[in-house]
Amino acid sequence: MINNKNILNYDKIQNNDMNARQPITGKGLIKFLIFVFSAFYYILWFCLVLVVVIEFISLRKIFDPSGFPIPIDFTVFFSLNEELGVANWDVGGNTNFSINYAMGSVKLSYAPNGFIALFCFMALSIFILSIFLTRLMIKILKTVKDKSFLLIENALRLRWIALLGIAILIVEKTFSFVIANYLSTHIEYSGVKFTGINPYFILNFDTVLNSLFLLVIAEVFRIGAKLKEEQDLTI
């Protein structure tokens, strides 16, 4: 006798059989991730070379002071002195608003050599750290592809990735702060107040939290790798 319960059970059995025949693997995902990170790695190398060329052109003015504008965007933090108004509510009337602690970039026709060198050092540092970080990710993914990922080396790589992430953040924030602070005392524009600090820029904790979380994961991974090693060497 056919009833709905029998049909449902038959579907469940059929699905279980299908799952048994087609186990879910992550091979395709791992290959895709390796491809993406490898592409990103080569893009970073290309950008590093590009940055070196741009910085050489920018620093070239040391030898040719009457050169062209510096092809670099420098970070600035600014606030508008005046309150602005716009009508945008259904109930009518103007809403006053002000722009505070905005972040932007400026192009300069001249900057001191030390200033440009500092910026170049920051850009190079960030690119080099990013290249190392991407290389570590690719190495981890390759061990996952070889199905031998629970290794002490991978735990150390995860730790290094977390530390590099924090290092990139510190370099970026420090240099942006230094550059914005320097520019705030050297450029002016009517109605715009350039500040050396932006609380929204500094109070950006998500990268730090992610890196610290990754440090915890790395330690857990290390313990797991140690347990696996013990298990593998148990006869």
């Binding site: 090693e229 013990e230 060497l233 148990t234 006869i235």
Partner: protein, 68 residues
């Protein structure tokens, strides 16, 4: 390591090869090799029991403690 594995001594006494032992005990050659070289971290009692049964010996014949 403080625990010395004298498996090769017992194999020589019983005139048995490592391959033969691995087939009789049911352990892979690589695992037996790890045990013989003293790189093993632990050995299960069931494995020790099977080795002793095949080699007709006592655990003390295979395992020896030496102070460092």
């Amino acid at each position: 390591m403080s625990i010395i594995i004298n498996l090769d001594v017992m194999l020589a006494k019983r005139k048995m090869s490592l391959t033969e032992l691995s087939e009789k005990v049911g352990i892979t050659m690589s695992n037996l090799s790890i045990l013989k070289k003293g790189k093993a971290k632990a050995i299960r009692f069931t494995t020790l029991e099977m080795i002793c049964e095949v080699l007709d010996c006592q655990p003390a014949d295979i395992l020896e403690y030496k102070r460092d």
